[in-house]
């Protein structure tokens, strides 16, 4: 129980604690601060609070309030023009449906809360370890965690079973990163070890920041025995992590339950609304205004009528006592509000929700978006954004893990001027490598990685023949790297590499007989063709972004000293001995070919050194490395000095494997006028490479601009130049289009208009330039230029920049954006964009958790957009158009009748008809339409991606189409009212009895209306499934059945005042006259629409009409994959390495390897938290053989 003061403080807004102070093992001290316990609660209601709270929540929705007010109005007898049940019945139905859904959701939350809260953990209580439930854990408790346990709260790491007090944690649930992270305890606490005694007397005091949601930062101090130690993020285990490779560890609870960073990060996801939502809200408000206007007109009409005629009629109908004409007009105003309330139909919102939910289910159910390898179906996590999928204009995509699989495979190489890795047929033509082709058999090599695939037998033969160049080539690959080997079992080697490229190369060497076996700080052991050779590691000349190469200097057992170097082609090229020129030419040719195939290439070279030179160099190296000033520069000079006059060995080509179907998908999306921006943390070259590989950049583009400026001016200049090249006649100033939006069109927004561009262009911009370009003054310039290009690639961007780019486009372009990504670094952009798509099936879930839709593969995006999105949009728009039409038609008839009934707010229809119209008679056909309608089936949708474009321009539902709707319903209502009026008002039944009475007229009108609106849906439906038929004809049948029921004797006897229409249906619908009127009315309502539509189809058919027309005539087209783009002959340098910094120091660090052989080497000590770092670090280290797809 928290004391009242706590709540009081919360109420007063004082809940923000500035700083947190806690003491280990001192519950009473910690309790005095009333920190949150470790119990979490994501549920919203309990049994008692459910009804009031849920009703409260529901009545925060405007629509429900509106109907509640209507209901209250209807209870006032002076005003009530419709009985209370016309509003109460729909309202109750709507409220209860929503209520049941909410209750169901909340029960699920309760269950998961209970499950989480009841997990157990060992807590140190009174000097003993005791199993406690998570929910009972409190701030200041000391916990002991075991391997593979979840971390229950945010802990300060105290000690661990591992050397140096390290622990390894997996943070996949937290940030989506799959690699293990290392945390290290303070030495002072680490000394406590596993000593329970020591812990029970431990009274450290922690002073740290208040609870917040920053995963990458932690600040605080620990005071032990009067000494204060600084705490940072490395000392903290966060809730949501899992302990790995660590036998046990101790931790001190700092933040519990709702205060943990995990909980602070979750649940506050922004509620996204679609454009249609916005538009709908505006329209509903407009309609409300319109309603008020009409009611004002009618009440003025009433006061005029009352003065002129009504006063004379008071003999028969006296005024209400004490009510003047003005007051009665005022009452009439409200009465008309009730009568005409159907213009703002309650069922609109409910139906929209149902439609979206249904369309979400179709996404979940789609087999063509199911990924069998990972057993992952597509998932619509947000069920309210479907139709926006049909309006996407910009896609922002992550690269690694999204476009690419983040798997590197050693694909080709060129050794001594001879290319390997490709297959040729007998006539010497290149053969495409297919999966089923025979693979190279590596069984001769016991240590070979079985997952490694290679198809070219000649390379193996060359190696086995003992070709010295080939040997040197693979020896280099086996020696020159920073990979750590891990041998769990005898003969089962695992490589831990910090970049997948390295791992791929070392694995290749391993399979070709040069098995990198183990390393110590001074030696590297390589199994060379079955023979163990121990090389002495003299120096590692580490990789850096500037150097773009790395070298090792080794001494072989024979005493030969060699420098092995691998690096970017340009860099190595400059440093080759002239004797290699010829070889370089041949290799360069291969390199260009590889680059053309989108492969990442490295050039390998070596140099023999003599002992005496090396001695001198080493001495200088040592001096330089301990120098206090200019250490870096001096080292660089030294490296530069030794890495020259090298001899070329060859080149490797590593494939950064694209996900399946990526190029084709991108091509399709581009056809659909969707612009694709790739935002990646990778280097420019890599990104560009992938861009070409997956068709984002194409060789036939007019030009690809590269912006790399390092100052704002330079960036601006480059952008301007690019723009002028694309569109020389473009105005200097961007043209902004102003438009009004929001409530009552009061919010003014500015949008950047597109400039017209001929031809296709691409733009590549790097992170630092982007930083300048995203500044306020350059933002427009950037967007203007970038939006003229077909594709934009931003490289070296931070997660924050990703979100900024998306935000900028959202702000200045009236376009719908979609972000797709898989990693934690994509979360920001996924959350920012209108629609976020997460790639699921990866181990990390962060992106998926914050996404609106999750897919297993990038290629499913085309189906999600071109099929599901398009259909959803089409359906939603058809629904809205039809819905407004039917309600306006329904309502406007009242308006015309007002002129005949003295503006007395007499409704035209039977009360029960008004009640059931939206709920029963017309609900299902339109629901079927908006769930099942398709213009063309999915095959054709793929075949004509252009079908997607109308959505981008809001073509199906906009203000114009809304106005057309109003006009049509106005026309309909005129026909619907005046034709029956003229035909009926002076006539009688065939037996001379009454038919021009109010009730018969109402029945006639109702029947006409029902037939007309159903005929309209008949015209609107393009795809008639059995369900459509059933609903349509069923609704008609239901109308007649219910009408006769409402007019039946039985109901009248029970409630004579509620069912006054006794016998009307029987007496009026058996008249031929009635049916002649119905027929004429319906013809006049429907035929003009048919005629107009026919004319439009003939004269200016839309793309849908065209494709539908084609579909009627032609067979289903086979989806033809366009031939791959012609091979490019550019000489791009495609050196690629996904390193950011070298880890050479670590590899040869004596201190680290010395103490005790760790189970897992500390190779990936994060310098920064990955969230803050430029690029994703997740990868799989071993080339994986793709599994065979399961046959179905």
């Amino acid at each position: 129980m928290k004391p009242l003061t706590y709540y009081w403080n919360r109420l007063r807004g004082n809940k923000e604690e500035k700083e947190r102070l806690l003491r280990a093992n001192d519950r009473s001290f910690n309790l005095s601060f009333h920190y949150a316990k470790n119990e979490i609660k994501t549920s919203k209601y309990n049994i008692i609070t459910f009804l009031p709270l849920n009703l409260y929540v529901q009545f925060t929705r405007l629509a429900n309030v509106y109907f509640l007010l209507l209901l209250i109005l209807q209870l006032i007898p002076e005003i009530s023009s419709l009985p209370w049940f016309t509003t109460a019945v729909p309202l109750v139905i709507v409220l209860s449906i929503t209520g049941v859904k909410d209750a169901n959701d909340d029960i699920k939350r309760h269950k998961s809360d209970r499950q989480v809260n009841n997990r157990t953990v060992e807590v140190l209580v009174n000097g003993k370890l005791k199993e406690e439930r998570w929910k009972n854990v409190q701030v200041g408790d000391i916990l002991k965690l075991q391997n593979n346990h979840f971390v229950p709260a945010d802990l300060l790491l105290l000690s661990s079973s591992e050397p140096l007090n390290l622990v390894y944690v997996e943070t996949a649930d937290l940030d989506g990163e799959t690699n293990l992270k290392v945390k290290q305890a303070l030495t002072v606490t680490g000394e406590l070890g596993n000593d329970i005694e020591a812990y029970s007397t431990f009274t450290g005091e922690v002073r740290c920041e208040h609870p917040n949601n920053r995963l990458d930062k932690f600040k605080g101090t620990l005071t032990v025995k009067g000494q204060t130690h600084g705490l940072d993020n490395d000392k903290v285990l966060l809730r949501g992590c899992t302990l790995r490779n660590t036998e046990w560890c101790f931790g001190l609870v700092i933040f519990g339950g709702p205060d943990t960073k995990l909980m602070q990060n979750s649940g506050q996801s922004k509620f996204k609304r679609t454009r249609i939502d916005h538009m709908m809200n505006i329209l509903v408000l407009c309609i409300c205004g319109f309603l008020v206007t009409i009611c004002v007109i009618l009440s003025i009409g009433n006061s005029i009528w009352e003065t002129n005629e009504g006063s004379a009629f008071t003999v028969f109908l006296p005024h209400l006592p004490d009510i003047s004409v003005e007051l009665s007009s005022f009452f009439i105003f409200w009465s008309y509000i009730i009568v005409l309330n159907t213009v703002v139909p309650i069922s609109l919102y409910v139906s929209v929700e149902i439609i979206r939910l249904g369309n979400s289910f179709f996404i979940d159910w789609d087999r063509k978006m199911y990924y069998p390898k990972k057993d992952t179906p597509a998932q619509a996590r947000t069920t309210t954004l479907n139709e926006e999928l049909g309006q996407i204009k910009y896609i922002f995509s992550d690269k690694t893990g999204t476009l690419t699989q983040n798997i590197m495979t050693f694909n080709k190489c060129s050794i001594n001027g001879k290319p390997y890795g490709e297959l040729y047929d007998f006539s010497g033509h290149k053969v495409k490598i297919l999966k089923k082709m025979e693979r190279v058999d590596f069984s001769w090599n016991k240590l070979a990685d079985p997952k490694f695939i290679f198809h070219d037998h000649s390379l193996v033969e060359t190696v086995r023949e003992g070709n010295s160049e080939a040997h040197a080539f693979f020896r280099l690959l086996a020696l020159c790297h920073t990979v750590m080997p891990e041998e769990k079992k005898e003969g089962e080697l695992n490589y831990q590499a910090q970049s997948p490229d390295e791992s791929a190369l070392v694995t290749a060497a391993r399979n070709f007989g040069f098995v990198f076996h183990c390393r110590t700080p001074e030696t590297i052991t390589v199994m060379e063709m079955g023979r163990n050779v121990v090389y002495e590691l003299v120096a590692v000349l580490d990789f850096s972004n500037v150097r773009k190469r790395m070298s090792v200097i080794v001494r072989s057992p024979e005493g030969k000293i060699t420098l092995f170097c691998k690096g970017a082609d340009i860099v190595i090229c400059e440093r080759l001995h002239p004797s290699s020129d010829k070889l370089m030419e041949a290799t360069m040719k291969h390199l260009n070919e590889y680059a053309g195939d989108g492969l990442r290439t490295l050039v390998l070279a070596y140099k023999d050194l003599d002992e005496s030179y090396l001695e001198g160099w080493r001495k200088r190296h040592h001096e330089a490395s301990i120098a206090m000033e200019e250490r870096e520069e001096r080292l660089d000079d030294l490296y530069e000095e030794i890495e020259k006059d090298m001899t070329l060995l060859g080149a490797t080509a590593v494939e950064d494997k694209l996900q399946d179907g990526v190029p084709h998908t991108i091509e399709q999306l581009a056809e659909a006028d969707i612009k694709i921006w790739v935002l990646t943390g990778d280097k420019q070259e890599t990104a560009e490479n992938i861009g070409y590989a997956c068709n984002i950049l194409r060789e036939d583009m007019n030009e690809v601009f590269v912006v790399t400026g390092n100052t704002a001016e330079a960036v601006q200049k480059e952008l301007k130049e690019a723009r002028q090249k694309m569109c020389p006649q473009a105005a200097a100033m961007p043209s902004m289009k102003k438009s009004h939006g929001g409530l009552f069109w009061l919010t003014k927004t500015k949008y950047l208009q597109d400039d017209k561009v001929d031809g296709e262009y691409g733009l590549i911009i790097n992170g630092s330039s982007l930083a300048f370009a995203l500044e306020e003054d350059l933002e427009l310039e950037l967007l203007r230029t970038a939006c003229m290009c077909q594709t934009v690639i931003c490289c070296r961007v931070t997660p924050l920049q990703k979100a900024q780019v998306v935000k900028a486009v959202k702000k200045y372009k009236q376009a719908v954006t979609l972000s797709i990504g898989d990693g934690a670094n994509d979360v920001s952009m996924i959350k920012t964009a209108h629609i976020g798509v997460g790639i699921s099936g990866q181990e990390g879930m962060q992106a998926v958790l914050s996404s609106d839709f999750s897919l297993a593969q990038f290629r499913y995006l085309q189906r999600l957009l071109l099929v599901h999105g398009r259909w959803s949009y089409l359906r939603m728009c058809k629904f809205l158009r039809y819905f407004f039409l039917k309600n306006f038609t329904f309502t406007f008839v009242h308006f015309w009748y007002a002129f005949f009934c003295g503006f007395s707010a007499q409704p035209v229809y039977d009360d029960w008809f008004s009640t059931c119209y939206n709920l029963v008679y017309t609900a299902l056909p339109v629901l079927a339409l908006s769930l099942f309608d398709q213009d063309v089936n999915s095959h054709w949708s793929f075949y004509y991606p252009k079908l997607y474009t109308p959505g981008q321009w809001n073509m199906y539902f906009n203000r114009t189409s809304f106005l057309l709707c109003i006009m049509q319903s106005c026309y309909n209502s005129i026909i619907l009212f005046f034709i029956p009026y003229a035909a009926l008002h002076d006539t009688v039944r065939q037996d001379g009895r009454e038919i021009a009475d109010y009730q018969s007229f109402a029945i006639l009108l109702q029947t006409c209306l029902i037939i007309v609106v159903n005929a309209q849906i008949f015209l609107d439906t393009w795809y008639w499934t059995g369900i459509n038929h059933f609903f349509l004809w069923g609704s008609m049948a239901a109308y007649f059945a219910l009408t006769f029921t409402m007019n039946s004797n039985g109901l009248f006897f029970i409630f004579p005042t509620m069912f006054q229409f006794l016998g009307t249906g029987r007496n009026s619908l058996n008249q031929p006259n009635t049916w002649l009127i119905i027929f004429l009315t319906c013809l006049l309502c429907i035929l003009p629409i048919v005629a107009l539509r026919f004319i439009f189809i003939q004269t200016s058919p839309t793309i849908n009409d065209k494709v539908r027309y084609k579909m009627r005539r032609d067979e289903i087209p086979a989806i033809s994959l366009r031939p791959p783009a012609t091979r490019r002959v550019s000489t791009r340098s495609s050196y690629a390495f996904s390193h950011s910094q070298g880890y050479g120091d670590l590899v040869i660090s004596q201190k680290f390897l010395g103490k005790k052989t760790p189970r897992r080497p500390l190779l990936f000590g994060q310098k920064d938290h990955p969230l803050a770092e430029n690029q994703p670090q997740l990868f799989r280290s071993i080339t994986e053989e793709p599994e065979e797809p399961q046959s179905c």
Binding site: P372, N937, S938, K1110
Partner: protein, 352 residues
């Protein structure tokens, strides 16, 4: 591998391959094409034309005669008299002469017509108690509040039937006379069977009699203020046509949809000559007991004689509307044909 029923194994989460879930339901995909639209337009034009002609011929065979007697002839006096409310109790009769040029053949119906009388005002329409008129005893003694101010009289005695509708019941009566060479003959009128079957037999009932007479049943209630007779004396000739099932009352209680309406007064009794074939041509008079005041609301009253056809009374609107519609559809059809000929025939527009 067949469809997996048990959700386990490697493909546990694979969606079902049903046509419904995969949105592959077999479907009919209609489209507005020339081959369907154009013929149907021509066909509809033809149908409308035929219907229009048929209806027109039918309507031509019916006859209707309206005699406005509000201020006509001697009724002028009554009209003036009724202007004064104090004369409400006094009787006033008047007579109107008219002649029929062409004999009315077949059944002839006599209506009274009212103009500018708003039976369709909301409060007026609501001012009735269906429960009371269904013969519910409780409602008889305590009429619904909707009947206000015609629910109880000044003394608090409940009014039966209550409400503004019943109170304002039309109470003129007509005697139609045919002038033959042999002198005037009263035209025999049937004044029963004027209502829908359901109204007479289901919707309206007298309270349970329990061996009581009708006046006894209605004891403790009073007549509506504007009525001269209590509800159980509406028809002096037929005791079974009294109370809540009086035909005239029921006709009146079926409220008209529009301010100008006519309501059935009676029909020609064709048993005797010269009326066996309907109303012969010649001179007629109608004697009116002029009770219903219309001057307050600038209303008009009329007597309407009409014959009916299979689709009801004489109404020229429908046949003409059908003929006009037919013309419009034909015109549209021609326009559509031209458009199709010029644009759509070769399918050039459709080619991408």
């Amino acid at each position: 591998m067949g469809k997996e029923k048990s959700k386990s194994g490697p493909l546990a989460r694979r969606p079902d391959n049903s046509a419904f879930k995969q949105q592959r339901l077999p479907a009919w995909t209609p489209m507005l094409t020339a081959s369907t639209v154009l013929p149907s337009f021509y066909l509809l034009a033809l149908i409308c034309m035929l219907l229009g002609v048929w209806l027109l011929l039918t309507v031509q065979n019916t006859q209707e005669m309206k005699v406005d007697y509000t201020e006509a002839g001697s009724c002028n006096l009554c009209f003036e008299m009724r202007k004064n409310v104090s004369n409400a109790g006094q009787k006033c009769t008047c007579m109107i002469m008219f002649s029929i040029e062409k004999a009315f053949k077949g059944d002839v119906f006599i209506y009274y017509g009212l103009r500018n009388f708003h039976q369709n005002l909301r409060r007026y329409m609501d001012s009735r108690d269906d429960g009371q008129m269904l013969g519910r005893k409780s409602n008889l003694k305590s009429p619904s509040s909707y009947c206000k101010p015609f629910d109880v009289d000044e003394k608090g005695v409940p009014i039966a039937p209550c409400g503004a509708v019943a109170n304002s019941m039309f109470n003129d009566s007509f005697i139609l006379t045919y002038y033959t060479i042999n002198g005037p003959t009263v035209v025999p009128l049937l004044r029963k069977g004027l209502t829908w079957y359901t109204d007479k037999n289901v919707k309206y009932r007298n309270p349970k009699m329990d061996n009581l007479t009708l006046p006894e049943v209605f004891e403790g209630t009073t007549r509506p203020p504007y009525w001269q007779k209590p509800v159980y004396q509406l028809d002096p000739f037929d005791p079974n046509n009294n109370g809540f099932i009086n035909d005239d009352l029921l006709v009146w209680m079926r409220e008209a949809a529009f301010p100008n309406f006519k309501k059935l007064y009676g029909f020609l009794y064709r048993a005797n000559k010269p009326f066996t074939k309907g109303l012969p041509a010649g001179n007629y008079s109608v004697a009116i007991s002029y009770n219903f005041p219309v001057q307050y609301f600038k209303g008009r009253k009329e007597v309407v004689l009409t014959t009916v056809s299979w689709f009801g009374g004489q109404n020229h609107f429908l046949p003409i509307a059908y003929l006009v519609t037919s013309g419009l559809i034909l015109l549209t059809a021609v326009v559509l044909t031209v458009v199709w000929w010029k644009f759509g025939k070769d399918g050039k527009n459709m080619a991408d």
